[in-house]
């Protein structure tokens, strides 16, 4: 789907999979204080200087919808 027509959560998951190595099911049974989605959102928010909420707030969505370079911010060297 084009980015602008994706539901917000789907957009966020797709974005975080592309640029923050987000995996929906990591197979871990350990109870986490923060969901993997929330952790990755926090990572992204920290990089962009957004308020770190771990939630999909309007400012975070706004950044996700902007045109950008396709190289992941976190695992960039994995390309090579």
């Amino acid at each position: 789907l084009p980015w602008e027509t994706m539901p917000d959560e789907e957009l966020a998951k797709s974005y975080l999979k592309s640029f923050y190595n987000f995996r929906e099911d990591n197979g871990s049974a350990v109870r986490r204080a923060l969901s993997p989605l929330s952790q990755k959102l926090s990572e992204m928010q920290r990089f962009f200087g957004l308020e770190i909420t771990g939630t999909l707030d309007p400012a975070t969505l706004e950044v996700m919808r902007k045109p950008r370079c396709g190289v992941p911010d976190g695992k960039i060297s994995a390309f090579s």
Binding site: G49, L50, P67, C69, S80
Partner: protein
């Protein structure tokens, strides 16, 4: 830079245009020359010039030198491709991802790929988006359009960013840097590599031994909210947030959050000027006005209001006024105050005329302000008036001075 300190071990690098699909076919690798692949959006000459200019951005500040080859495998293979294009990192169609590149390494390392589903251009006039310049009707609202999507992304800017990766730079979290991952529109003719990028690339390769080719502008830096000497260009409220302007940048801070978020003005309002003189919100009509020289821009949300920019005379200011230093609107009384040099003008929103008795000296209304006013805004019945890095807090009703503060009171240093 990349975590593994990836960089080229040589100073002379080659580049070449190539179709990535063909490159991966064994027959091609065994000797059949690939077909050169150009963007359908631009002429071959424009693509060539964009790529050469993008490489020169990096050559200008390092010992690196680039030469183009027309056959065989170059260090930096450049291509346009769409969707799955042979590297296991498919593109996503229009918008979203514009391009990607690989860190220095043999093989695919250093290569740069551009998403053919995007509309690339050589340049856009005046570094702005022509489709936004005409303005939109005031009744239109909704989500912002992607920056310059209708007129295309400047290939030079995208390529210069990607070649930063090709040479060993990772993404920067400095929103003013070329290596910031979000596309920012600017005029290629006046582009100067920002300081953050210069420091990054020179940490890998050192400076250009030939020095700068001539006197040129200094690399632009990004303003720091923690700088105690910071003098803001303008401050305004906007839909429950406070916006602080400096150069090409703004910080926005929600009044219930202590963390300001820094962006480029161009990322908010592609048609807005940089280095504005003043800004003011009129909440009753949901507009924010940005002043620069003798012009004023009005925005509603992300959209330029039809008919703007206009002359500042539309606020009753006489022709002798060349620029406004600061502005604030007292919604309670309906008076818009303009600070011009040491003088104060009061514009009555109801009658749409300047109030009688104005202009008058600023210190007649605000007796403690003896220096030039640099920014001002209204918040919860108080006027916050900046003179350099100092901020005066006045009650708008009584004009009584309450406190002397500094930038960090609202624009927190994080």
């Amino acid at each position: 830079i990349f975590g593994d300190n990836l960089k080229w071990q040589k100073k002379n690098l080659t580049y070449r245009w190539v179709d990535p699909h063909r490159r991966l076919r064994p027959a091609v690798l065994l000797g059949e020359d690939p077909i050169e692949n150009y963007s359908p959006d631009m002429s071959q000459a424009e693509v060539d010039q964009s790529i050469e200019m993008a490489l020169q951005v990096w050559a200008g500040v390092t010992p690196l030198r680039f030469s183009r080859v027309f056959s065989g495998t170059a260090d930096i293979m450049v291509s346009f491709g769409r969707q799955s294009h042979g590297d296991l990192y498919p593109f996503d169609g229009p918008q979203g991802t514009l391009a990607h590149a690989f860190a220095p390494a043999p093989g695919i390392g250093g290569d740069a790929h551009f998403d053919e589903d995007e509309l690339f251009t050589f340049r856009s006039e005046e570094g702005q988006c022509p489709h936004l310049d005409a303005g939109v009707p005031e009744t239109l609202g909704g989500a912002p359009e992607p920056v310059c999507a209708a007129t295309g992304y400047v290939l030079f800017l995208v390529a210069a960013h990607e070649f930063g990766h090709s040479l060993g730079l990772s993404h920067s979290s400095d929103p003013g840097a070329l290596m910031f991952p979000i596309y920012t529109h600017s005029n290629p003719d006046s582009f100067v590599l920002p300081q953050d990028d210069v420091r990054g690339i020179q940490s890998l390769y050192g400076p250009n031994p030939e020095g700068p080719l001539g006197p040129g502008p200094e690399p632009p830096t990004t303003p720091d909210a923690c700088d105690s000497k910071l003098v803001l260009d303008a401050v305004t409220t906007l839909r429950g947030e406070i916006y602080f302007f400096k150069g090409r940048f703004l910080w926005r801070r929600h009044t219930q959050s202590s963390i300001p978020q820094q962006s480029l003005i161009a990322n908010f309002w592609p048609g807005a000027p940089d280095e504005i003189d003043a800004a003011v919100e009129r909440r009753s009509s949901d507009r924010v006005f940005l002043f620069k020289d003798r012009q004023v821009w009005a925005f509603r949300g992300y959209d330029l209001v039809a008919g703007y920019p206009k002359s500042i005379s539309s606020f009753g200011l006489p022709g002798a006024v060349k620029k406004v230093d600061a502005a604030l609107l007292d919604e309670e009384s309906g008076k818009m105050l303009f600070f011009v040099d040491r003088m104060l003008y009061s514009y009555d929103e109801a009658t749409e005329t300047l109030e009688p008795g104005f202009p008058q000296r600023v210190d007649r209304t605000f007796p403690d302000i003896l220096g030039r006013v640099t920014a001002a805004f209204e918040y919860r019945g108080f006027a916050y008036i900046y003179s350099g890095p100092v901020m005066f807090e006045y009650s708008l009703g009584s004009k009584r001075l309450f406190r002397l503060l500094d930038n960090s009171y609202f624009l927190t240093c994080t």
